[in-house]
Symmetry: none
Subunit: 217 residues, 4 copies
DNA sequence: CATGAATGAGCGTTCATTCAT
DNA sequence: CATGAATGAACGCTCATTCAT
């Protein structure tokens, strides 16, 4: 009945930890949260099992490797969890839109607001994507978080807008990257004086996106 | 001030290395180049004195600390050098422009081309800015390379355009960040199929910038 | 005596496992076999509960400690089992012999053949004897497998031969050690080109033993 | 002029340590000696950098890895050193002999005496040969110390004896293995009551070898 | 200008084992 | 009979750095 004939511990191949009991789930969440905060605060390079243990207030780093196996697997779990949270918060906000223009604005709004309200998760995702590497030195999760769901979600909207005639001709890949980068960069403008509010950022970016994408009359 | 004062080694406060002899200059350049390649290839976290030594083909890591002092000072020197090279390659290209519109396009052109032609330096700068931290964990060079010269160079152009009436009203800080992010992101579009050429990227981005900034008629 | 007394688990002092049910016996055999193969293949130092678990295809290392207690006790059980198997395979072959000369030849034959046919068990016994140690660092099972049954079984034959006048005077202990070592070493000659067959080894060794032990005429 | 463009530290590929200065040589010897004693006393599995450091009375385990690189390279250096010492002590003792019979006896004498007088080195060599493994689990130095110089040195003598007619026909490989095993096993007889003296062991073994190898009249 | 020797702190990981059901 | 959760100790190794020449 067990999917992974396991060691009792999180195996290299299994994304699941030991058991799936509520207790295990709680522990895992506790550790993942501590990892996110640590990554956001001191960065990937300084994020060690010892520092995560400290923040999670658990007895030993052994508990981390018990539940997640290696550090790489922990990072993977953190990324997965953060991405899931973002997806759940954002996706439904775009659901009702019927036009590409509306969908694009809704999506930008939702992403900016999520980024503004979940700085640690955002930062943690960046830290992992930009630093986590395979043994051979190549970035494990792509050259940037650009391959992530939030970028990929933009492109279909842009393509739909071109097909419906709402949008002009442009390279949808580069435009999606640009918009995602702009959204992520907005956090800087919200925190560097003279600070912009979330609403102002949303406003600036939706306008920018509109002007950059709309069909010339 | 320093205990080792007078040993002939790079001091903590001095940006210069030991002496300024041609030999020393050559050594420093050799090490900086190796550091750039290493940073670009395997990232900040994996960039150690040992790996730099290997690539620079020098006898001992001691030579690195001899010329640069600490790792942080080496990173600082690398960043300074890479930024200088970028500046020298880019700045004169904008010199002749008289309109904000022209200056903006020239700047985007120059930056995209430099990024495309100097991937390692670009990557190395990113690695340092996004990862180099003080003892207390805060990013040493700002939250992003956004505070760097290339971002800061965009904002005056945007402001000038608003003042001259060429550009509409928008937050110049956020727009500068967006454009810089878009330029950096372009490298992804040049390397992920279906790849865009440098010229195509320049075209897309200058059009985008024009539409996003111009005054509505 | 033991804190966990009465938990149903293998106690420190008891050679038996928990219960003696057929199921428990089967599990123990399964684990012992996996341990033998692991010892033979990767050696005592690399033989861990985790690797045994893997090979035995059981769910957790906990199952091993459940049935055998500590690692030392498992090793003890493995050694006992392997020695028992060897004894059962060898002892009856010598039973019918009436002369020391005949008994010696029969014993050498039987041992060489067993060694050749049970490489893993042989190797596992060696790994345990040569590596298993007490807390104070002393070898638990003697300085070599020399104290083991197969060595001890040779000496009475040699002594009997001296008493009956078949054999010359020599130190029976050293001769027994020599013969046992030679038998074990034979495995190397069977596997290193130009390989000898089992029959050839038996032949060489029985001749050697005969010449070395017989009374000078 | 340096053979290995090095890190300043012992590299993975280089058998040499940092520099070859007298100081470095002394340190290396100090560590090798401590490693030999540790191996002999508590075995390969328990021989850690920490325990070697303790016995060598040096400040940090870092000093070991500084001079030898990895543990495997240390073991390699120990084996090499021990083998060299044995070779130097034994080889010249056989030099003057003109007959195979004489050479064989001289060699047995020399080896038994060396084994008796250098128990730690002997034991250390065994520990390394029997336990040191590659990443894939295979024994690094052959299935036994049988491939070592002391075994190989016996076989030419045996072959020469057969060619000169002094010795009967037998498999020289197996005989060499047998004699080497017997010599090593002799240490057990010298230490297990009723103990034999070195002279007695030499006597027993040379007689044994003579009877086992001589041509039948 | 360049090197040699040494070093302490920290890393992720693996170990067998124990307390619960 | 079997498992889940947890754990402290130890491991080899790598890090940047410093004190000598």
């Amino acid at each position: 009945m067990r999917v992974t004939e396991g060691t009792g511990e999180a195996g290299a191949a299994s994304a699941v930890g030991p058991g799936r009991s509520p207790a295990a789930r709680a522990r895992r969440a506790q550790i993942v949260d501590a990892a996110i905060e640590t990554l956001a605060e001191i960065g990937h390079g300084q994020t060690t099992f010892a520092r995560i243990r400290e923040r999670a207030d658990i007895s030993s780093t052994r508990l981390i490797s018990y539940h997640f196996g290696t550090k790489g697997e922990l990072m993977s779990a953190v990324l997965e969890e953060a991405a899931l949270r973002a997806h759940q918060a954002i996706s439904h906000r775009v659901a009702g839109e019927t036009t590409a223009t509306g969908a694009l604005r809704a999506r930008i709004e939702a992403q900016v607001e999520w980024v503004a309200g979940n700085r640690s998760s955002m930062r943690a995702m960046y830290e992992i994507c930009l630093n986590e590497r395979d043994a051979d030195g190549t970035l494990r999760y792509g050259m940037a978080p650009s391959a992530q769901a939030n970028v990929e979600a933009l492109e279909p909207i842009l393509r739909a807008g071109q097909e419906s005639g709402e949008f002009r001709r442009f390279d949808t890949g580069l435009m999606a990257l640009t918009l995602k980068s702009a959204i992520d960069a907005a956090i800087v403008r919200m925190t560097h004086p003279p600070c912009l509010t979330v609403a102002q950022c949303v406003d600036e970016l939706t306008t920018l996106a509109h002007l950059a994408t709309r069909r010339e009359s």
